[in-house]
């Protein structure tokens, strides 16, 4: 049998089957009525062929049994549920029913309220971003205008806030604390040089680095820095591999600023450089500029 066997149509079973194909298709319940009649004739003259059909059926059952695997981990399920909630903007977890919901520990207890808060955050963000968003200067006004981009910003906001609100969460998530180790990890994980990661020269020290899952699915990391000598002054840096899709319509090397829904919270700066997208959440407007200078970005500071 040839790999490129010609057929009348690519999406239909061939009308003429060899005996082997006829028997395999019988085992797989793929025969047309005409082929079924052909099979019955064949079996009447070759009764041993029933054994071949049973063999294929046994193999299929065995493949199913040994490769069934485990259910999706709770973390994956929680990620998809959070994605649904973020995308919906107005939906609540209660609208996602069905058997899958019975296994979700994610929605139990305090986490449930965190997720609900995230949904509300998205709703408020969409409204405020729609009325206030835009790069300072001549940026396209629809940056982060759709649900996908809003979900990214909501994720960045939430993860920044969670890390600063909960030491345990921060230490578990951003578990790489040494600059050298973080540079090596980021270089390997994202595939570009991160020798600029040390920001001592602008008075910021690294707190931790770890992976994160920014909506979009590509490799992403989060890092948190602390202002030297100033307790409580932190900023988050998120770096995501560029999806190379039009979903995030920002110009290369231009810095954009996204206001927070709560004006007392630090704004988010965003830019794309060398196939990576950077998000900085910081009250200090110089931080994004410092990192961009370290990266050698053109196009100036966030205006």
């Amino acid at each position: 049998m040839s790999e490129q066997r010609p057929h009348n149509e690519n999406d239909r079973l061939p009308e003429q089957l060899s005996v082997s194909e006829l028997l395999r298709c019988a085992a797989d319940d793929e025969l047309t009525p005409a082929q079924q009649r052909e099979l019955e004739q064949r079996l009447s003259s070759h009764p041993d062929d029933r054994g071949r059909i049973e063999t294929d059926m046994s193999l299929r059952q065995a493949v199913s049994r040994v490769m069934a695997g485990e259910p999706a981990p709770d973390s994956v399920r929680a990620g998809v549920l959070a994605l649904f909630a973020e995308q919906a903007g107005v939906d609540t977890p209660a609208t996602v029913g069905g058997p899958a919901t019975t296994q979700r520990s994610f929605w139990a207890g305090a986490r449930r309220w965190s997720a609900v808060a995230a949904v509300l955050l998205v709703m408020v963000s969409v409204f405020l971003i729609a009325s206030q968003r835009g790069r300072l200067g001549d940026a396209p006004v629809d940056i982060f205008g759709d649900a996908f981009r809003s979900s990214i910003i909501a994720h960045v906001e939430r993860e920044h806030d969670r890390c600063l609100a909960t030491d345990d969460y921060l230490s578990r998530k951003l578990s790489i604390n040494e600059t050298d180790e973080a540079q090596a990890f980021l270089t390997k994980y994202l595939g570009v040089d991160f020798s600029w990661l040390c920001l001592d020269h602008v008075q910021y020290e690294l707190v931790g680095v770890g992976r994160c899952k920014i909506p979009g699915g590509d490799q992403a990391v989060q890092a948190i820095y602390r202002r030297v000598g100033e307790e409580g002054s932190y900023f988050s840096l998120f770096i995501q591999k560029d999806r190379e899709t039009p979903l995030i319509q920002i110009d290369d090397d231009r810095c954009y600023q996204v206001p927070r829904n709560d004006q007392s919270q630090p704004p988010i700066y965003c830019w794309r450089s060398n196939d990576l997208i950077y998000y900085v959440v910081s009250c200090d407007p110089d931080v994004a500029g410092s990192i961009r200078r370290a990266l050698g970005c053109s196009g100036g500071e966030a205006e």
Partner: protein
């Protein structure tokens, strides 16, 4: 279809989608990313979903495979040339090779689960994925063809060869267990 209904249906197949993502990526982190991206795209394209008789699951698999292909393309992992499939070192039988002359029907499958799993893991991805869509997910040939964007004849031939390769791999087990030989009738 209502969004909530779409989400409910999509979530029912999360285990299947994740299982296939694990087979494709062989890495839990990457598999998680593939699932996340698959459901993101499914949501964005939910309005395009058309029920063709197989439910939402084949459609989710199609998205998953597209996401996976895009990832591979970005990572510049060139697909294996078809010609390599027939390499003597590849351990695969020639297309059209005869079924091994022993009778799988009489095999005690419970005794060979680990060997079978190892044999499946050793299959080239092009064969393994089709075998899993057929054997584990229970998809019809036509649905597999849609998911893999292949002609249905190619699906059939790859599936046949995957089964042949498993049979060859399990031959040693058969010999160890003393399964009776022969009894495969000819007449094609």
């Amino acid at each position: 279809m209502e969004r909530s209904e779409f989400e409910r249906l999509a979530l029912e197949h999360l285990d299947s989608v994740h299982r296939m993502a694990m087979h494709l990526a062989a890495d839990p982190d990457i598999a998680g990313d593939l699932v996340q991206e698959t459901y993101l795209r499914a949501l964005k394209w939910a309005e395009r979903f058309e029920e063709k008789g197989g439910g939402i699951r084949p459609w989710l698999f199609t998205i998953l495979h597209n996401v996976h292909r895009t990832r591979l393309k970005r990572e510049s992992r060139a697909p294996t040339a078809v010609g390599d499939f027939y390499s003597p070192d590849a351990g695969s039988p020639e297309p059209g090779a005869a079924t091994p002359a022993w009778n799988l029907k009489s095999l005690d499958w419970e005794q060979v689960d680990e060997r079978l799993k190892a044999a499946i893991d050793d299959l080239r991805p092009e064969f393994r994925v089709i075998l899993l869509l057929w054997g584990v997910e229970g998809l019809k040939y036509r649905q597999i063809a849609e998911v893999m964007e292949l002609p249905i004849g190619t699906v059939m031939s790859r599936l046949h060869r995957a089964r042949q390769m498993l049979a060859v791999s399990l031959e040693g087990v058969v010999n160890e267990l003393g399964v009776r030989a022969g009894e495969v009738s000819s007449g094609e």
